[in-house]
Amino acid sequence: MYRIIRANAVKVVPFNEIVCYNELGSVICGIREAYYYVSRGDNMIKKEMIAMLLAGGQGSRLGVLTSKMAKPAVAFGGKYRIIDFPLSNCINSGIDTVGVLTQYQPLKLNTHIGIGIPWDLDRNVGGVTVLPPYEKSSESEWYTGTANAIFQNLEYMENYNPDYVLILSGDHIYKMDYEVMLDFHKESGSEVTIASMPVPIEEAKRFGIVITDENKKIIDFEEKPENPRSNLASMGIYIFNWKVLKEALITKADQPALDFGKHVIPYCHEKGCPMYCYEFNGYWKDVGTLSSYWEANMELIDIVPEFNLYEEYWKIYTKSEILPPQYIAQDSVAERSIIGEGSEIYGQVYNSVIGCGVVIGEGTVVRNSIIMNQTHIGDHCTIEKAIIDEYAQVGSGTQLGTLPEKENDTRPDIYNSGLVTIGEKSIVPANVKIGKNAVVFGETTAADYPNGVLDSGRTLIKVGDGK
């Protein structure tokens, strides 16, 4: 009806006439000659729900796997990284605006996310935005807690003028339709909704527990209780009404290490906000420890896995760098395994998860192991129950995980369950033996292995801040 020429605002005025204004606010077309003050506020971008993805944590219980990258960037299931799961969930749930909060070792994460092309999150309006902590004119600080990180990015959220904000963490493996959760949030009249899932009551003391009435209204919380009153564990996924979240964050801004579970949720509860619990019954796995990480990978190779990557309707997207198919050579075996693109298998692979671009040499036997992208394993090796990070090189004739088990000498809380862990870009020389619960990180040479052996439980770290 009207041509808009160099107008910076369009506004519906009374009588439903569309009037366009130029920069000075004067009418440049329209039926009525009227003068209105045009406020940008009336013409703001509008997103119903945006997601804030907390991806700044180290995940120290993953040991050397997270010494050079944040936990959400750790590889999972052959070709994915952990952050692919929440990001794919977002786009599959119709959320196209995601802020990713990074802090600890973000290089790999930034490279992986880029402008969000793999997840279709490269948008004209919205899309994915990486949000690191930044310097302010006063009170510059790192992200000191989960809620503090969100607080420091209030401005980002304001830009999109959302009704709801979804808070996610980047370290779980699951498929979830956040739109269903939002429907529940709206229907129940909730202002804060916490996703939770039933866990065995004896494990409940490891989690934050929510206690609900028969309408799923939350009546109480317990953080890692000794005698849990309920088995509903919080998954760290929250939907907030934007106004409630904003008010809570501003009110509690001075709280040191502002945290959702410890401060913001209890504050909203005390204030009397209607809070509901959204019960989730699908697959959800916290891969916070090496043994749970290993288990979650191994579950993918079941004939019909509980967490199925082969479903058409809920695809998991990732940045695929390598295209060619994998090659399985003449005298090789691949059984009960998943293997990524471009890998070449000349040896035998049983019960393992193999990433992209991996080479497994002739006569090598790999069992119950995770071998990540671009790692090369020489000939005639034996590899039992190992986690080998990306770009590692293992020389020929090496044996991993074949010695009797002993407790780890430095961090038995991290390196346990009989796993051998080899860090990113590590070099393991030929013909050495590395025992169970041992960890190797860095470019090692034969001199690091007295008599060609690194006994079970030993720690061999030759690079910077490996923990």
Binding site: L309, L323, P324, P325, D331, V333, S337, I338, G340
Partner: protein
């Protein structure tokens, strides 16, 4: 780069048989996860050609699906871009493309409005890696009007489906015969040409005036004594896929380590559309030997000397030997397949038996997919 690219991807070949019933030859899947046209597009991209037109006509839907975004080959730029040209009805013309020269003539405005001094014309049905800058340098050094990329075929090769050329010592083409009954040389044209843009416009307009429509017959062969037409030898791997045997052979070449390394591991890369598929999965009972397996496959049976394209499901107790299974094929239990090409999206029922006895058998069953 001082050239723009034209990919001729419109033709059909009867020699592809049932394989070209539902797709253009340039959209034929190659080596597990590529399409034939990826090679020429990647070559152009890697030669820094930024503006590429793909001319399609026969069964073009398949190709359009693959070219749905130009970003895979890095053409989605502010300068240049990827154009696809299908025949359109205009006030002056209501014909399909009547030949390769006519297909360019109908899109002559694209050439006229460009500013690049040279044009690289190539077909979409060949598997090779090439830096077109090298051809262009040769073209300029020889002061050629047209440069044709040629390949010396082995002595025992059958070249009667190619354009066969004979060059003098300087490299100038003296004889050029299209699909000769008896070939007098083993040097064949690869269907890759470099020509000055204004020269091309002039030749195409002239041919159109005379009612001639074919680039090879009516321009290259007709003008070979008038214009300086030179041959540039390609020494590296080059293979045309436009017959069932060559298609099969080209794919099987990728089972050789040196060919795989050449295409997949050596710079520059070959790009393709990325499908988000999970890694391939090997269940108990999987026995895979000397085979290429693409992402999204689930293997429960025996696979030997074969290529499984994306999302192939191999049932229990299956035996697949010396075969190519195209994308998204479901093979029921106890199936035996030997020396075959199984058409994509097919469902082979349990206990089926397909063996190519004398040559390569193309299997098209079109069964309904059982939903488990």
């Amino acid at each position: 780069m001082r050239a723009l690219g034209i990919v001729l991807a419109g033709g059909n070949s009867r020699k592809m048989g049932a394989l070209s019933h539902k797709r253009a030859i340039s959209a034929m899947p190659i080596a597990g996860s590529y399409r034939s046209i990826d090679f020429v597009l990647s070559n152009m991209s890697n030669s820094h050609i930024q503006k590429v037109a793909v001319i399609t006509q026969y069964n073009s839907r398949s190709l359009h699906e693959h070219l749905s975004s130009s970003k895979w080959w890095d053409f989605g730029r502010k300068q240049g871009g990827l154009y696809t040209f299908t025949p359109t009805v205009t006030p002056d013309n209501s014909n399909w493309y009547q030949g390769t020269a006519d297909s360019i003539y109908q899109n002559l405005l694209f050439l006229k409005r460009s500013h690049e001094p040279y044009v690289v014309i190539a077909t979409g049905d060949c598997v090779y890696k090439m830096d077109y800058n090298k051809v262009l340098e040769y073209h300029i050094a020889k002061k050629a009007d047209i440069t044709v990329v040629v390949k010396e075929m082995p002595e025992d090769a059958d070249v009667d489906r190619y354009g066969v050329v004979r060059m003098n010592d300087d490299g100038r083409i003296e004889e050029f015969e299209e699909k000769p009954m008896v070939a007098r040389s083993k040097t064949v044209s690869c269907g890759i040409y470099v020509i000055r843009r204004r020269q091309l416009i002039e030749l195409i307009e002239k041919s159109a005036e005379e009612g001639r429509h074919d680039l090879v017959q009516d321009i290259l062969i007709r003008y070979k004594d008038v214009k300086r037409i030179y041959g540039y030898r390609i020494e590296s791997y080059w293979r045309n896929i436009a017959t069932v045997e060559d298609y099969y052979g080209t794919n099987m070449d990728f089972l050789k380590k040196e060919i795989r390394d050449y295409f997949f591991k050596q710079y520059p890369d070959v790009y393709s559309k990325v499908d988000d598929l999970p890694p391939a999965k090997y269940n108990p009972g999987a026995h895979v030997r000397n085979s290429l397996i693409s992402s999204g496959c689930i293997v429960n049976g025996t696979v030997e000397n074969s290529i499984l394209f994306k999302e192939v499901f191999v049932g229990n107790n299956c035996t697949i030997k010396n075969s190519i299974i195209l994308n998204d094929v479901y093979l029921g239990d106890n199936t035996h397949i030997e020396n075959c090409i199984v058409e994509s999206r097919d469902t082979i029922r349990a206990n089926s038996h397909h063996v190519g006895e004398t040559g390569i058998k193309v299997v098209v069953e079109k069964n309904e997919r059982y939903v488990l």
